[in-house]
Amino acid sequence: MSSLAPVRGVLLAHGDLAFGMADAVRQITGIGEEALLPLSNRGLSPETLSQAVLKLVGDQPAILFTDMQSGSCSFVARRLTQQHPGLAVVSGVNLSLLLEFVMQRQLGLEQLIPRLLSRGRAAIGCTPAELEANGHRAVSG
């Protein structure tokens, strides 16, 4: 894979989520499938989903964005990174992270990934802010 080409993004998610998020990115930035390609796992086996991802990635470095870390999309994506060194996976994406990606994708993976993680994490918050301080009351599951 060429290191000069801008990084491509493939967004894998359950249901129609990827298409909705990609549409939101396009609405906000005007940047569409030249940067971020949506893909649903609906009805696809892991093998078929892998083939669909590779077809979209082509011969470019790419980030595979996934919705949830323990889902089948993430499993397929992580497995592909074992076989294709130009790929990386970012899971648990949100809109801020994707916006940063399409605006900064000329950066290489090494610079881009930490930046995206930082932006995505920083974008999560709540109002009123004091509710966030109630973390000790949260229950798991």
Binding site: S45, S70, R78, R79, S140
Partner: protein, 164 residues
Amino acid sequence: MGIALYRVDERLIHGQVVVGWGNQLHPQRIVVVDDGLAGSGWEQELYTMGLPAGLATEFVDVAGARERLSAWRNAPETVVVLTRDVATMRRLGEGGALAGEEVNIGGIHHAPGRQEVLPYVFLSRGESDELQALARDGAEVSARDLPGTRRVPLDHLMLPERFR
């Protein structure tokens, strides 16, 4: 407690299992029965990344799983047993080891040689025969992708005659 779900799902540990069934059954352990994965540490790591804290996982081959079925059934925790294909579940249940147990078909997707029987279940002739063999060995086979959806019994999962 004990084994709350036996499920055939090509995706093994994924959203429907962890969230959909997980919120219904509250398992403390997921057992993946698969000869290939049992010996592949890196693949096991891929499957277990991001799982909720407190959910243990175990990857065992079919022979090991047959030896441990009784222990899982009597465990003080709730266990989910997964295989990625019908043949593995059939081997697990050989000789009546799953007699009286309900085996859930949760996700077998389109592939060459398979025909659709439900939107989330595609079967080859061989897989259809394996399911019937599993039932003959005493398992109650049905399909259901999520706890809230309709349970489809085995006799509704048979391939149309023209594919047999």
